[in-house]
Amino acid sequence: MALFSNTATLLGKELRTEFRSRELLTTTVVFILVVLILFSFAINPTSEESREYGPGLLWLAILFAASLMLQPCFLREQGNDTLSSLRLAVDDPFAIFLAKLIANTLFLLLTELLMLPLFAAFYNIPILPKLHYLLLVLFLGSFGISVVGTALSAISAQARMRELLLPLLLLPLLTPVLVVSATVSVSLLDREPVIQWKGIAFLAVFDLVFLTALWIFGEYLLEE
């Protein structure tokens, strides 16, 4: 199982380099924090408004933070041409994607976990009653953002106007996952919480479809 051992080795490298530089985590945590505080003071929502608009704002903040996080994902492999050395070393290039995808999802989830208590405090929304379902939605939504973002990051890193290209490609493709994630989150954070299983199933299918596409076409995305 060279794919899994290579993925584990590369994931270790991704985590080690990130925790050493803390480049992505610092940027995204600060960004999400600023957005949540800014909106909280600017809108000063009532409890009902918070429940209605809060989850939407939350996912908007996650989206922008993710696009900040995903931009350098493949771009930083260009500086020393490390992407070429990885492609020379691994049997299956999907291992490169898989490691980056898992790392991006973990970084995004870590940022969300740090931010969730602050979100609950600033918007006065109790998150504990349905926390496990909320975590499930955050995981599925973040995985969806990461899988699409990782693939597009590989494409945009080799293109001109790369800084512009990633958000341009990312936003339309992520619209369905963001709309559904926000809708399911609104239902979960309602006074009378409802679990929208159809929405959760949609997120799972979305993740699976894009993961399969990445597995099939990933090799071509890494070509010069």
Partner: protein
């Protein structure tokens, strides 16, 4: 290169058959046909933009040719780790945020090298970076970075080595070290294809020189005097 690299290699050659590589409107390689025998040391010469780097990247299988075929005569199983070419490009191809040792262990593990820690330690001694094994690569000088780049290319004991201007950033002592190392590797049966500018201790290792111009092979010689003329012409 001593110790572990002294392992005898199953000889592998390189065969380019009518290779074309097009980048958009630019034809970087045009119908390149070249056969490099197992164990041969070939210098690739030519002016900037003549296609040397592209040809080496095609040989390394980093770049897929638009047309034509690349094969490795003598490689019983091309998927075997040591039949993957070792490639040193213009960049270091290692991670600045990892130490020299971590980089070598990473690439050894990815290529299923037995005992990756021991192999990394061995290579670090060979390239003279053992004392700095724990230092992050970003703290290295240009010459040290070139040494770690070479160590990375050798980590899986390749039977084909591809070097793109290997002397870049090395001082005279470094060039002498590289010439000796390359010579040792080549004598063990490793096929070497390297792009060069002008004559040096490294070019003296080459037994054959191939000159590229505008993506096509325009010269191929094995005689001493002609070889020098090709290399000096390319460096002009």
């Amino acid at each position: 290169m001593t110790a572990t690299t002294a392992t005898t290699l199953s000889p592998t050659g390189l065969r380019f058959e009518n290779i074309d590589k097009r980048y958009g409107g630019l034809l970087a390689l045009r119908r390149v046909s070249l056969e490099i025998a197992p164990g041969e040391c070939v210098a690739l010469a030519g002016r900037n933009g003549s296609g040397k780097t592209t040809l080496l990247r095609v040989a390394a299988r980093i770049v897929r040719p638009t047309a034509g075929k690349l094969s490795f005569p003598g490689a019983a199983n091309e998927a075997a780790t040591h039949h993957r070419p070792g490639y040193v490009g213009h960049s270091t191809m290692v991670y600045d945020e990892l130490s020299a040792q971590e980089n070598l262990i990473l690439f050894a593990k990815l290529q299923n090298v037995p005992q990756p820690e021991a192999r990394a330690e061995e290579l670090l001694r060979e390239v003279g970076l053992y004392e700095r094994r724990g230092s992050l690569v970003r703290t290295f000088s240009r010459g040290m970075r070139q040494r770690i780049a070479i160590a990375r290319a050798l980590v899986h004991r390749p039977s084909v080595l591809l070097f793109d201007e290997p002397a870049t950033g090395l001082d005279p002592l470094g060039i002498a070290w590289l010439a000796q190392s390359l010579g040792d590797v080549n004598r063990r049966g490793c096929t070497v294809l390297m792009s060069l500018h002008g004559e040096s201790e490294i070019s003296a290792l080459a037994t054959r020189a191939v000159r590229l111009d505008a993506g096509a092979v325009v010269g191929d010689t094995q005689t001493g005097a002609s070889l020098r003329s090709i290399l000096t012409f390319a460096g002009a």
